[in-house]
C-alpha cells in the first residue's frame, strides 16, 4: 500500500510543520517531542525525485537529461530552479528557528 505523503506546511496558515510523534512499527513504542523536517523532506515529490536521480547519475546533467528525455539546458534549468528552491527553504528554516529561539 502506498504511504501517505508527509505534509510539510500547515493547511491553515502555510507555516512549516514539525513532527511531534514517532512510532515503531515493530513494537509500537512511541517517541514524542519536536523534530524538524530537513530541507530534502520539504521538497515536492518531483523535486525529491530529481535530487535522487541526480545523485544516481553521479551529478552528470548530460546523463540526467538523457534519462528524462529532454535537452541539456532544459534539465540544467530544472536543477537551477531546484537550487533556488533549496536556498529558499533554508532561509525559511533559519527564520523559523530564529523566531522559535531554537537556533537549530
Amino acid at each position: 500500500m502506498a504511504e501517505n505523503k508527509l505534509p510539510t506546511a500547515c493547511p491553515s496558515c502555510r507555516s512549516a510543520l514539525v513532527v511531534t510523534r514517532l512510532r515503531c512499527r515493530t513494537c509500537a513504542s512511541a517517541v514524542e517531542g519536536e523534530f524538524g523536517l530537513g530541507v530534502l523532506a520539504r521538497l515536492e515529490d518531483e523535486e525529491q525525485a530529481l535530487v535522487l536521480r541526480l545523485v544516481k547519475s553521479s551529478g552528470s546533467l548530460k546523463d540526467l537529461a538523457a534519462e528524462y528525455g529532454v535537452s541539456y539546458p532544459t534539465i540544467r534549468n530544472r536543477v537551477d530552479a531546484l537550487i533556488d528552491r533549496v536556498k529558499q527553504i533554508e532561509k525559511e528554516l533559519a527564520r523559523a528557528a530564529k523566531e522559535s529561539g531554537h537556533g537549530r
Binding site: V70, S71, Y72, P73, R76, N77
Partner: protein, 202 residues
C-alpha cells in the same frame, strides 16, 4: 506529456528536447536549404527577420545572408543572455538553438516564389493593374497572409531558443530577447549592405 502535447512542444519549443549539439547541425542544414531555395526564388533574407524578393546573386551570397543573420542573433543572444542570466550558459546552446529557430524561413522563401514584385503598386491600392491581374494580386495577398503566421512562428522559436539556452523567462527574458533581436536586426542589415551588396545584381 501526452502525444499531442509532445507534438506541440516539438513545433513550438523543440529545444525542450534538443540540446545545442543536435540543434546546430540540424539548423545549419535548414540554413543551407534556405540558401538554395532563396537562390532559386531570388528571395533575399537580408535581416534577421526579413525576406524580400530581390535581384539575382551567386548562391554563396544567399548562403552568406543566412549565416550573417544567424550569427548576429546568436552573438547578441549569447552576450546579453550571459549578462542577464544567473545560469552557466553554453555557447553551443545559445548559438546552435538559434540556427534551428530559423527553420520556418525555408517555407517563407518558398512562398515568396509565388509573389510577383510588379504587384506591389497594385497591392498599395488593392486594385488589379495592367501588370498585375486579379489572380496575381490575390496570390500576393494570400502569400502575405501566410507570411504573418510564419513570422510569428519564427520569432516564437527564436524566443524559446533564447529562453531555454539562457534560462530566462518572464519580463526579464522577454526584454533581453527583444534587445538581442533589435540589435541583431540592425547589425545584420549593416553587415549585409557593407559586405554583400557589391555582389548582388542590379
Amino acid at each position: 506529456m501526452g502525444a499531442d502535447g509532445r507534438s506541440v512542444t516539438w513545433l513550438l519549443n523543440p529545444f525542450h528536447f534538443l540540446s545545442g549539439e543536435r540543434a546546430l547541425p540540424l539548423g545549419l542544414v535548414f540554413i543551407g536549404l534556405t540558401a538554395v531555395a532563396s537562390w532559386l526564388t531570388r528571395a533575399h533574407v537580408d535581416g534577421v527577420l526579413d525576406v524580400h524578393r530581390g535581384p539575382s546573386a551567386p548562391l554563396w551570397v544567399f548562403a552568406a545572408e543566412g549565416l550573417v543573420d544567424w550569427l548576429c542573433l546568436g552573438a547578441f543572444a549569447s552576450l546579453i543572455g550571459g549578462l542577464v542570466s544567473r545560469s552557466r550558459l553554453r555557447l553551443v546552446d545559445t548559438v546552435g538553438m538559434q540556427a534551428l529557430a530559423r527553420a520556418p524561413q525555408l517555407l517563407a522563401v518558398g512562398l515568396v516564389a509565388f509573389v510577383d514584385p510588379k504587384c506591389r503598386p497594385a497591392l498599395a491600392h488593392l486594385r488589379p493593374t495592367a501588370e498585375c491581374g486579379t489572380l496575381k494580386l490575390g496570390l500576393f495577398v494570400l502569400v502575405l497572409a501566410l507570411m504573418v503566421p510564419l513570422l510569428v512562428w519564427t520569432v516564437a522559436l527564436m524566443y524559446r531558443a533564447f529562453a531555454v539556452a539562457c534560462n530566462l523567462s518572464g519580463g526579464r527574458g522577454a526584454a533581453s530577447f527583444i534587445a538581442s533581436l533589435i540589435l541583431a536586426e540592425i547589425l545584420s542589415k549593416v553587415l549585409i549592405v557593407v559586405l554583400l551588396r557589391p555582389f548582388i545584381g542590379p
